[in-house]
């Protein structure tokens, strides 16, 4: 492999960049940018990799989006960051607490970006992130308060944690939320429908409700975009459209490990292959590597079976986990996998998960790791 690989890393205390020497063996760490800012997502635009967006806030200051148009050399702040419309009732009015997810728009829609926030909000920019508009089709939906109630959600607040766009059709979109599950739009975000059949919500009176699930992460199989992988609060699922009922493929995971986690990564060329990083979701929900033994699990048969891949990870007393945006793949052959851990370590595999090594240590808690598209 001769192409240089670049990782964009968002942490609880700023942003870093890692680059390799073209062989994914010798990594250089640069940063921090925006030291002290809580960086939930740091993403390069696959349509023009000189464009990079950073979702940031601090413990004190409100949320904003920093944007670079020169490959990260310089940054400017969005002149109008994501914000809900002004409300007459200020007591109950929503204000964006933080932007959680940044999604480059469809390949046929240059300069368009989408953003998901806490409290759950969907926003769009048509100018590479300089100005953002609230999407009434979701944010003002008559069912909004039922779909994404304000009094539930993650310790950092309820999330609209993900936005996916069908590569074949920019009007076909999916959302993942922490309080309503998955939603689908066929008309470019004007209307939305819950898409949660078969997904458990074991914290609800009806454990299989129409909505109310906690969809930690969803991903389309790049070579088969009718296949959606989901790592949910209540297990690992797969849905093949036009079907509408999710299949809990996590039941094939080892019982002592379980199928709880934050994220799932599909193989960019093999629609039957994906990786997860399980965490302990038993008892009081430690959210650590099960048994203190970190590992990824790989399926190569649509989730019918899973193989443990832990070579290089600590064999004992390793208690980190991996958050939603912090596990990703490049597009090389063999595939490179990268994960950022809650203990500030970045781990890499250059052989499709067969072996792992730490390529950075001592960073702040890592929230996102993204490969700059080649």
């Amino acid at each position: 492999m001769a192409t240089r690989t670049e990782l964009l890393i968002g942490t609880r205390k700023g942003a870093w960049v890692m680059t390799d020497n073209g062989r994914r063996g010798d990594w250089r760490l640069e940063g921090p940018e925006f030291l002290g800012q809580i960086v939930n997502h740091y993403v390069a635009d696959p349509r023009d990799t000189k464009v990079r967006l950073i979702a940031a806030k601090t413990g004190h200051l409100g949320p904003t989006v920093f944007r670079s148009l020169d490959g990260g050399k310089t940054y400017k702040e969005a002149s109008r960051p994501p914000a809900f419309p002004k409300s007459e009732d200020s007591a109950t009015a929503r204000a964006v607490g933080h932007t959680f997810w940044l999604q480059p728009g469809h390949a046929r829609e240059p300069h368009v970006w989408w953003a998901g926030t806490s409290p759950p909000g969907l926003f769009v920019s048509e100018d590479d992130g300089a100005t953002w508009d609230s999407i009434a089709g979701f944010n003002e939906h008559p069912m909004y308060d039922k779909w994404v109630p304000a009094d539930s959600g993650t310790p950092d607040g309820p999330l609209l944690n993900q936005i996916l766009i069908d590569p074949r059709d920019p009007a076909h979109m999916y959302l993942a939320t922490s309080t309503g599950g998955v939603f689908e739009s066929l008309d470019r975000a004007k209307t939305w429908t819950p898409l949660n059949q078969g997904v458990e919500a074991n914290f609800m009176p009806d454990p299989y409700p129409e909505y109310g699930q906690d969809a930690h992460y969803i991903a389309l199989a790049p070579t088969k975009p009718d296949r959606i992988w989901q790592q949910n609060h209540c297990g690992i699922y797969r849905l093949d459209r036009p079907g509408t009922r999710w299949d809990r493929i996590g039941k094939a995971m080892p019982g002592e490990v379980g199928d709880i986690g934050f994220t799932i990564v599909p193989h960019p060329r093999d629609a039957d292959t994906a990786w997860v990083f399980p965490m302990d979701g038993t008892d009081v929900w430690p959210r650590t590597s099960p048994g203190g033994r970190p590992a990824v699990y790989r399926t190569s048969d649509n989730g019918a079976s899973w193989t443990r891949q832990d070579r290089g990870f600590p064999t004992a007393q390793g208690w980190f986990t991996v958050k939603r945006q912090a596990f990703c793949a490049d597009d090389a052959a063999p595939l490179g996998l990268y994960l950022g851990a809650t203990n500030g370590e970045v781990w890499a595999s250059a052989d499709e998960g067969g072996s792992w090594r730490a390529i950075a240590r001592h960073l702040p808690e890592i929230y996102s790791v993204a490969v700059t598209p080649g």
């Binding site: 413990g59 004190h60 200051l61 409100g62 002149s79 200020s90 204000a95």
Partner: protein, 87 residues
Amino acid sequence: MINILVPSQLHSYSGGLSRLEASGGSIAEALDDLDRRYPGIRFRIIDEQDRVRPHMRLFVGREAARDIRRPLADGDELLIFGALSGG
């Protein structure tokens, strides 16, 4: 003019200055004037519903202020602080 104390958290906007002047007959107007010269600074203090953000504190002189409609008089001092926000 209103004399404004800018906390360290906002020095990236003020060019490192901790003391600025702004014009306006209320906190909102003074912050609007500040935002015209230091774009983006207002939204990091005040949310889109005109509420002071949870970990920011405003004082006019020694008096705490949470309502940005509070009137200001020429010569007033508006103190902006980053309050305790955890580790």
